[in-house]
Symmetry: C2
Subunit: 413 residues, 2 copies
């Protein structure tokens, strides 16, 4: 192994103390003193790696190893150091620390790349503080939406104020944006946040793409009535309708055995919500994802048909609101091939798998080729203090990232 696994572990251990929650948890909200502390620690490691560091106007920490041909588009790597409010030690952190390790090792090897390398910890990937994430990665590409600076957190602090307090200047976003064509490619290592690798007993996976979700809010309206007095045949029970739709979604998402399609109803609100009153209104969300957009569109149509049929059967009315609809973003074949080759070189049998969750790479995919390396995490648990990836697996991931980076750089040497 080329990278320094002991150093990488020590970096994880040191970082896990910042915003430490209980024994193994982390609470490191974006644009806070806690995140600033994390940035300072990561900066110190970037400096050791020979990089210059800065915090841009979006609140991104950027480490830069200037190439001998700084006019070339940069090789960008990274992830995020902010965490869920009740999060773990590896989500995001893994992508930043392995990228720093890769550059550190590159410098130690005496390699001076033509192409500039940047390692970024993106601001507010998680999105819970202002209820909208991928802020820093969308920001540098000029992809923010109107009103984002006016979003407030629970203490009614606007994002604008939080940015200013963090030392950023929201009036100078333009200075921190990247011109089209200025990023050569983006590499992100991340824990899988799912159980596929753990179940397959594989430490490393190659991501095929990030499946954009289709997000709906579905409202069903029936007719309330006393649970003791309305005969079953004439009920308009919105909760029975919802139950049939939940099962229809499951049936639709599982019709092709082995396909990566996932369909989820994760919320449900029942009105009036009394044990002896038939449900009149039920509201629930639908989350449908597939790496194959055509198939997802087919399934969406099937689900609409099922909702229509269920509501007709139970004499309900319904509405479907589309809250989000993003298409799958595929990883670049040439980068996947390099990663596969690196895995083969390390005798790793690395399966390809879809990423259900978002990542900063999703934002970058609109500006450049990208690829992702997944590291297995125990039982697929994430967004929870129980989140766990072994230092052995993380070191393997860092090694694959290092090799991939060198290979990408080598193509221009």
């Amino acid at each position: 192994m080329t990278i320094n696994a002991a150093r990488l572990q020590s970096h994880f251990e040191a970082m896990s103390l910042i915003g430490k929650l209980g024994e193994t948890g982390t609470c490191r909200p974006t644009l806070t003193k806690t995140e600033m502390e994390a940035f300072k620690l990561a900066s110190s490691w970037m400096l050791e790696a020979g990089m210059t560091t800065r915090i841009d106007n979006f609140g991104n920490l950027v480490g830069r190893l200037e190439g001998t041909h700084p006019e070339l588009p940069v090789l960008m790597m990274g992830s995020h150091l902010d965490s869920q409010p009740y999060g773990g030690r590896f989500d995001g952190v893994a992508g930043v620390l392995t990228a720093i390790e890769a550059v550190t090792k590159l410098t130690e090897q005496g390699i001076k790349p033509q192409r500039t390398i940047e390692v970024i910890s993106f601001a507010d990937e998680e999105g819970w503080r202002f209820n909208k994430g991928l802020f820093g990665s969308r920001g540098i590409l000029g992809r923010l939406e109107e009103g984002e600076l006016d979003r407030t957190d629970k203490e009614v602090i606007t994002r604008r104020k939080a940015l200013i307090d963090f030392g950023c200047d929201p009036d100078k976003f333009k200075e921190s944006e990247y011109a089209p064509g200025s990023i050569h490619c983006f590499l992100e290592l991340h824990i899988e946040q799912g159980p596929v690798l753990d179940l397959a007993n594989k430490p490393i996976g190659v991501v095929s793409g990030i499946s954009g979700p289709l997000w709906w809010t579905v409202k069903l309206k029936g007719m309330a009535g006393h649970a003791g007095s309305v005969p079953m045949p004439i009920r308009q029970d919105a909760l029975v309708g919802a139950a049939e739709i939940i099962l229809a979604l499951r049936h639709i998402a599982t019709q092709i055995p082995g396909a990566p399609t996932v369909g989820t109803v994760g919320t449900m609100n029942v009105f009036p919500g009394s044990r002896n009153i038939i449900a009149e209104d039920v509201e629930f969300t639908v989350d449908l994802r597939d790496i194959d957009l055509n198939r997802r569109n087919t399934y969406e149509a099937q689900l609409r048909g099922q909702i229509e049929a269920v509501c007709r059967k139970h004499n309900l009315t319904y509405s479907i609101t589309e809250d989000w609809n993003s298409e799958p973003r595929y990883c670049a074949d040439w980068l996947k091939q390099i990663i596969h080759a690196q895995c083969t070189h390390l005798n790793l049998d690395a399966p390809e798998l879809m990423s259900g969750p978002f990542h900063d790479a999703m934002a970058l995919s609109y500006a450049t080729d990208y690829a992702m390396i997944f590291v297995r995490c125990k039982d697929g648990i994430s967004h929870n203090p129980l989140e766990f990836a072994s230092y052995e697996d993380l070191a393997l991931g860092a090694e694959v990232l290092y090799g991939t980076m060198v290979e990408v750089l080598g193509r221009e040497v």
Copy 2:
């Protein structure tokens, strides 16, 4: 028609002004000044009917027409004048006002019964203020449970204090109880609170019995996970399990076409309740009712089996808490026969039907024979300002109640 329909209507109209809510609604909580105002108005009508009136220590309003043989067990009629917080004009009120009308007409006819008649507006039938109902009707039979006086409402007023403020003496409950055998029978007229009569286009129904509900709280525990990353086959989705149980309950309750069995899930709580997280915990209630206890027991066993099977299938754990389990309480055949005869006399084709909801009659059923007369209500709507019964139907019901009362009295004349 013997009873005075115009007077009855004027009583409904006057009573509907007390605690009036919007155009057609009522909010008349138990043990409040509003209920006291209603008691005073009802008392004035009881006095006109020749009755004496008192408020007992449970907060019941009792009108008494002393018989010529006061040692005979009393013929008791009534219902309640308290309402749901967002209730209608007829629930409970119908039973009190038609009973007053029946006694008024009896007096007007110059009939002096041997048997004493009592008309009662029972305290706190609805039960929402202190979260436990049928207070007055259970109270007079010595069927209160421990701690009931310490229950509090939303303003943290105990029932004890509310009683004292209402002029009652909770230390003298014994004085307001009825000795075993002292009640000859109990008659209650009530709006159906269901759609059966309205759909059948019949103004009056004869109640076969009050089906006691079986009430459960069911908790399912699965495993949370990212909605985008946990493959469908390995999910432990508690909401999918709940959906299957909801449909199993519906299937069980409808297996005999035309049977009065009803099964309802009216509440559902999902944890963590995030659109992109698989449900880990789901809690919901089950309400199962049938006039046939053996059948209900069979269905209960079937449902337990289904819950077990669903949880095994989806790798969930579960618990079932029995919150309430009351057996059906059948109306007395001899009273039903009298009511049917009265209906036939009036050329009414009155179907027999089960009462799903509770009534004060349910409490009385443990001490005496009872019967109930149902009056149709529009679309089965109740516990809502939209609750509606026509004055024509209510007059018909009062006529049936009057005839039934006279018939019961006549048996001893």
